[in-house]
């Protein structure tokens, strides 16, 4: 046991004791200098220098010196160093958490294998009372073995570890480690972080703070990757010709690093068969775009891939997708019986302009809606229609089943009172705004999917359209007003009903009441309005690794590209299984009405089908890796460690890496807190000195200067 100091540098402050003494004894009297016109009459009297140089109150001087010394000692943070007990503590049981990065960038070379070896060595170095956990992490963190001293189990867990397809995120893994260490009762906490330490994996604001005393040891497995080719930005342009879809794939080949141009083949694979291959020459750090010949898409759930020859980072050398022939959106425009013949001319023309043939438009001139009209229809547009109660009830059923109704409130439009609850409000009289320059759209809900595409600059200007007549509309509480005119009146309002929606546009969509149809924004607006009303969502051609798909959600399935449940054999609430890209199976029991989550952790194709069946065109989901992980820009491991523990751990060294001396010294000092006592003693001395010196000063009276204190 010996007296030690946590910050011995502050002991230099003791030397400060001599400073006031030296200054006092050596300085000349410089303060209180009085400027005087002439010293002619002033006798030159010596300023009692001898008296100044003699210390008069040794006791006061000692008090002051002692107080200063105690202050310096307090700031030096003294403690009694019990090194023997500290050593014993270092040999005590430890809680070791091994965090092993399994993001796909760890697949470069033998990084992952070396990481496994480091983890094995760490587990082999565990003491008999030590416990360890193994956490594999990528985007998320998975505890493979939790707080166990069973080395066989730990090694077995290591043997099952494989490189994944996810990206590196240190935050979740460190959070898990924090939880394990906080729950542990063992005195020593250690974290072994094995990764290639990419900059993209750590933003600094993850909010991880490991328990005090935790020793974090980063093991950097990164190896240099001087040349890497990857595929990026796959584009699948579709055109509808003769009722069939023609798809033109294109892809960008990106090269990072390299020294000489290389020529590589880029292959297009469809349904497991290579159908095209193009050679492309890519310069160092260059980019080339490859456009394949178009192919005809005829079968649903068609898997496809674009591939490069495998290099050291294999995961970004292929991009997968799933395509299905598109189906046109059935639109029924019901035009009022008394309306003009070309009342829907603008609408028909706008919906007819679509390269992919997305809309199948039919027009009826009547005021009735029959059941047969709604077959194969996704959206019904009531263009200035005067409906009766029966028709309105049919539309109610249609909307509740997932259809969409768009009511264009022209001069003749009306809605039966018997079905008033279907509408998002009540229609009023027509208002005239022909004075001046007409009304304009003053408010648009840009957060809504209809207007979201127009929220950016130069993406569509609605302010140019002038509205000369509109119908008054009083929305109900449950209605969402999506657009208003500049006088505050409602322009577009929506109400969800069942699985569908009812929307009301309080003017016409032709040139009769406004000139919106003459504006450039008219066509995209009508397209967005119709598509949204139909409830159809854009299909994803691939997912990114790490996403989760709920197979119980029909809308999610539609988004995922499920076109034909019958062909995929996924009808009814039956059990299903998912075949993973690596060949494994993932059961998807039917269960009750709850979600059926399928985690998409691997890159490649997931096939979902009923167990024991072999459907003609099974539901296939393509999964690609996140290309952010291909950015191998490294970060400094100590920087990360410093942010999560405050004091950096030691660098490397495997399981014998324990070096908690600094922290133990801190702990000892914190427990003893001798500085508090020293500080109190110093303040007491200073207070006593103040009282004493005041008393001495009063006793001395108005004596000559220079005799104060010392």
């Amino acid at each position: 046991m010996s007296l030690s100091f946590l910050v011995p540098l502050f002991l230099l402050g003791i030397a400060g004791i001599v400073v006031p003494i030296v200054v006092h004894l050596t300085r000349r009297q410089r303060k209180n200098v009085v400027a005087f016109p002439s010293l002619m009459f002033l006798r030159k009297i010596p300023f009692q220098e001898q008296r100044r140089r003699r210390v008069q109150h040794w006791f006061l001087l000692a008090l002051r010196a002692l107080a200063l010394g105690l202050l310096a000692l307090a700031f030096a943070r003294p403690f009694v160093d019990d090194s023997d007990s500290a050593l014993a503590s270092s040999r005590g049981p430890r809680e070791v958490v091994v965090l092993l990065d399994r993001s796909y960038s760890m697949g470069v070379g033998d990084q992952f294998e070396r990481g496994l070896d480091a983890a094995r060595v760490a587990f082999d170095g565990l003491g008999p009372l030590d416990r360890a956990s193994l956490v594999l992490f990528g985007q998320g963190a998975r505890v493979v073995a939790r707080s166990t001293s069973d080395r066989l189990r730990l090694r077995g867990a290591l043997d099952t570890a494989r490189v994944g397809s996810g990206t590196t995120r240190f935050g979740p893994a460190l959070k898990v480690a924090q939880t394990i260490l906080e729950e542990s009762e063992l005195p020593g906490g250690e974290v072994l972080l094995i990764s290639d330490f990419q900059r993209t994996g750590w933003s600094g604001d993850e909010g991880v703070r490991l328990p005090t005393g935790t020793v974090v040891t980063p093991l950097n497995m990164a190896t240099a990757l001087p040349d890497n080719l990857q595929l990026a930005d796959v584009s699948l342009n579709r055109q509808s010709a003769g009722g069939r879809d023609r798809v033109t794939p294109s892809v960008r080949v990106v090269r990072q690093g390299g020294s000489e141009p290389v020529t590589v083949p880029v292959t297009l694979v469809l349904d497991g068969q290579e159908i095209q291959s193009r050679e492309v020459t890519v310069a160092p750090d260059g980019v080339q775009t490859v456009v394949f010949q178009p192919f005809t898409l005829s079968r649903p759930h068609t898997p496809g891939s674009v591939r490069l020859p495998a290099d050291r980072l294999e995961a970004d050398d292929a991009r997968h997708f799933v395509l299905s022939p598109g189906s046109a959106l059935g639109l029924l425009i019901i035009q009022g019986g008394r309306a003009e013949r070309d009342a829907s001319l603008y609408l028909e023309r706008a919906l007819g302009i679509s390269e992919e043939g997305r809309f199948d438009v039919s027009v009826r001139r009547q005021d009735l809606v029959r059941d047969s009209d709604l077959d194969g229809t996704s959206v019904v547009i009531l263009n200035d229609t005067r409906l009766n109660g029966a028709s309105a009830n049919r539309l109610r059923t249609f909307v509740e089943g997932g259809g969409g109704v768009l009511l264009l409130a022209g001069p003749s439009a009306s809605w039966p009172a018997s079905a008033a609850d279907v509408l998002p409000g009540s229609l009023g009289a027509a208002g005239d705004r022909t004075d001046g320059r007409g009304g304009r759209l003053g408010f648009l809900e840009y957060a809504h999917p209809i207007f979201e595409a127009f929220s950016g600059p130069r993406t569509g200007d609605f302010t140019g359209a002038r509205f000369f007549r509109t119908r008054a509309f009083t929305p109900t509480d449950s209605a969402d007003v999506l657009a208003r005119f500049d006088d505050g009146s409602v322009a577009l309002v929506e109400r969800r009903l069942g699985r569908g929606s009812v929307m009301v546009w309080t003017s016409t969509l032709d040139s009769y009441w406004n000139d919106l149809a003459l504006q450039p924004v008219y066509l995209p607006f009508v397209h967005r309005l119709t598509e949204y009303s139909s409830g159809r969502s854009d299909q994803l051609q691939w997912f990114e690794a790490g996403q989760v798909l709920d197979l119980a959600d029909s809308r999610a399935l539609e988004t995922a590209g499920l076109i034909s449940p019958e062909a995929a054999g996924l009808t009814g609430g039956e059990d299903a299984i998912a075949l993973t890209p690596s060949g494994g199976t993932f059961p998807l029991p039917a269960g009750d009405m709850g979600p059926r989550y399928l985690p998409l952790d691997e890159r490649g194709f997931y096939t979902v089908r009923p167990p024991g069946s072999d459907p003609d065109r099974p539901f296939v989901i393509a999964v690609n890796v996140d290309l952010a992980e291909s950015n191998l820009t490294p970060m400094e491991p100590d920087e990360l460690v410093a942010q999560i523990v405050g004091v950096p751990g030691t660098d490397g060294g495997g399981p014998g890496f324990t070096d908690g001396t600094v922290l133990r010294r801190e702990d000892q000092e914190r427990r003893q807190s001798l500085w508090r006592y020293l500080l109190v003693a110093a303040f007491l001395l200073l207070a006593g000195e103040t009282l004493l010196s005041n008393w001495v000063s009063r006793g001395r009276g108005s004596g000559a200067p220079g005799s104060v204190g010392a």
Binding site: R30, V33, F36, L39, R43, I45, F47, A704
Partner: protein, 307 residues
């Protein structure tokens, strides 16, 4: 000699004699006009006229007028009181010799010795200008700093230079006064304003040169109250404004000796100046200017009689 004690009343203009009030007036001419007019209003007697025998005009008698100037003949004819007015002197040379040595910049309150001297010089110059004297100015420290020969046209220049005067360098009397003696050929009235931080022998020998050339010399010894009373308490280092020399001083022990030595110094100066027929006035910068103005008027009246 008129009795001025009667005239030193609390007239409305008297407040403008207070140096602390004057310190707020930037324009020196305005200051001089204010002081002189206020001072003369308090006198209750005719200000400028009367020192000559050249008749000017009659004026109705006003209470306060000197009854010796009343025209009894006219009273006998008209049964009304008139007094006779005479033209004033116009031919005197008047010059202010203003010490602007560094020690004059001292002031324990808001008015420094130089400020006080500046006010006094301006008032006297204004007075003389009203009297139609030729007004000149010499500022000096250890040599002549500015010199304006006496002239009827130089009044504005004199006021301007007085206002611009700054104390900056060490001073002495002998060399500059010798030079002045050579410059001022024509006899006149010289007003010397200084703090006289030299031995009486040196002062008298320097000022005596002027007197010896036939000038009528008035000396105003300007001192700050702290120079007279030495009221300091704390032991301090005292620094000579002119030499920068610094000595430690315990004022309490020195005060008695200091005041005694200053008293002896001023007494000896007064005695020896008087012996040489030089009018000596000790001025305290905390006191109003009227003492100096009275002194000036006394001298002028005496000179007028003499002539």
């Amino acid at each position: 000699m008129p009795s001025y004690s009667r005239a030193r009343s609390t007239a409305s203009g008297a407040q403008f004699l207070d140096p602390s009030v004057l310190a707020r007036i930037d324009n020196l001419e305005l200051l001089a006009r204010t002081v002189v007019d206020g001072f003369l209003n308090g006198l209750h007697r005719s200000p400028y006229l009367g020192f000559s025998l050249d008749f000017a005009e009659h004026r109705p008698y006003m209470p306060g007028d000197d009854i010796r100037r009343m025209d009894w003949r006219l009273f006998a004819r008209t049964d009304r009181h008139y007094i006779k007015l005479f033209e004033a002197e116009t031919n005197s040379n008047f010059a202010v010799l203003l010490d602007v040595s560094r020690s004059m910049s001292y002031g324990s309150h808001e008015v420094t010795k130089l400020d006080y001297a500046r006010y006094l010089a301006a008032c006297l110059a204004f007075f003389s200008n009203r009297q139609r004297d030729r007004v000149g100015l010499v500022t000096f420290d250890h040599e002549i700093v500015e010199y304006v020969p006496p002239s009827m046209k130089h009044f504005d220049t004199v006021l301007h230079l007085i206002a611009r005067a700054e104390a900056g360098r060490p001073g002495s009397l002998t060399a500059p006064l010798l030079q002045i003696t050579e410059h001022l050929g024509r006899k006149g009235i010289l007003v010397l304003i200084s703090d006289f931080y030299e031995g009486p022998d040196a002062v008298l020998s320097a000022v005596g040169l002027l007197r010896a050339r036939g000038h009528d010399v008035m000396v105003f010894h300007v001192l700050d109250p702290t120079e007279l009373e030495f009221p300091f308490e704390d032991a301090s280092g005292f620094e000579d404004l002119e030499t920068g020399e610094q000595i430690p001083v315990i004022p309490g022990k020195l005060r008695a000796d200091y005041t005694r030595m200053v008293g002896e110094h001023t007494a000896e100066l007064r005695e020896r100046f008087t012996a040489q027929r030089i009018d000596y006035t000790l001025l305290d910068t905390s006191k109003p200017l009227d003492l100096a103005l009275f002194q000036y008027l006394t001298v002028r009246e005496r000179l007028a009689r003499k002539r």
